[in-house]
Symmetry: C2
């Protein structure tokens, strides 16, 4: 029996469920590839269709527009991270160890996970670093939020916040600190690679330095 990890997605994000057909899976797979390679701005449904070997209209049958497709793959990523978090912190009692695991999970560029055939998690992690915030930094955040497009992100933020509270039940800003960790795990990575003078990480450009920075930040803040 083949184990396949299925992440439950918000149906408002798509017109036809991409998990349910080969074409759909190809749309996801090639979207990740193209956005990873050229950035979201340069990504068009036409290029995507050509890369798959279908037509623009074919893609439009699955996704209303490229923004929803971006939000889809980003939601997928957060869902996957949530799964990893639950899996990796399962049975760990010490909340400090848990929180360290979370920081590492958020900061590390994972190997491609074989259990999710059409998704390259490593590329997706890179996409999140450069394009993640574009999911919500729009004029229509409010509408999107009402449709629960950001639920996986919020749930993750909540989970991290809970672990923070386990470490220090009196800490006053668990959600803000959680969103700070999540965002900074990505942003400091972007800065390290593209605007290094905004960071203090050596030329080696190693993720382990970001992890050290975040651990120092978090554990001093919650006073452990």
């Amino acid at each position: 029996m083949k184990l396949e990890l299925q992440i439950k997605m918000n149906p408002s994000l798509y017109l036809r469920d991409p998990e349910q057909s080969e074409l759909g899976k190809n749309i996801i797979k090639h979207s990740i590839q193209i956005i990873h390679d050229n950035g979201f701005e340069a990504f068009t449904f036409k290029k995507l269709a050509e890369s798959i070997g279908t037509t623009e209209a074919g893609v439009y049958r699955y996704f209303e527009n490229k923004h929803k497709l971006l939000v889809y793959i980003i939601s997928w990523y957060w869902g996957w991270i949530q799964f990893q978090l639950n899996y990796q912190t399962n049975n760990i009692k010490d909340p400090i160890v848990k929180l360290k695991k979370v920081i590492t999970l958020l900061s590390t560029n994972v190997e491609d996970d074989i259990t999710t055939g059409h998704v390259d998690e490593s590329q997706l992690h890179q996409i999140l670093i450069s394009e993640g915030s574009k999911a919500y930094l729009t004029n229509h955040v409010g509408k999107d939020n009402k449709q629960e497009f950001f639920k996986p992100y919020k749930e993750l933020c909540n989970s991290v916040g809970e672990i923070i509270l386990e470490c220090n039940p009196k800490y006053k800003y668990p959600h803000s600190l959680a969103s700070t960790i999540i965002e900074m795990a990505h942003l400091q990575n972007f800065f390290m690679n593209h605007l290094p003078s905004l960071t203090d990480f050596s030329k080696s450009k190693n993720e382990s330095e970001i992890i050290k920075y975040l651990e120092d930040l978090v554990f001093n803040t919650i006073r452990i």
Copy 2:
């Protein structure tokens, strides 16, 4: 004598200096207005031209494209913040007081400053919250960085980093912490207003809560 604050801008950002003509100043003024009202995605040179009462070609004589115009107004903002920082922390000896001033400066939506006629700093602050990161989250960061588009931002980050070191000369991540403060002053504000469950700020949606969060974060981190 009328005092006018002039922020020195990188000439690679424009084709013709917008400070040197009425049309130029109008381009800046109306750009800020439109981007503030509709977001950067919905902002086009055509709309801008119509709003000013000139033609698209007229705008293109000043700016090569809308991205450079965005980077221009964002650079202007960081230059202005740098000036405010120097001005407001001048003669203050206690670095802790200085750092608190900086956090407040970055987190507070200022009143429109009369000394800069065509720029509405309050709107600009809002733009930075929603659109600031789009200046560098592009495929061409590298190129833009080589042309020193992000110099004002880096300089500010450096100044903040220096104050952090004055507070604690042994702190290991002054630049990363500085960029974290700068980015989070904006991002927590965005979350507070649009995705409040990612924060711990009450329904009052008051900037003072962000300031408290950041002060707690920063001074615990550098162990004051």
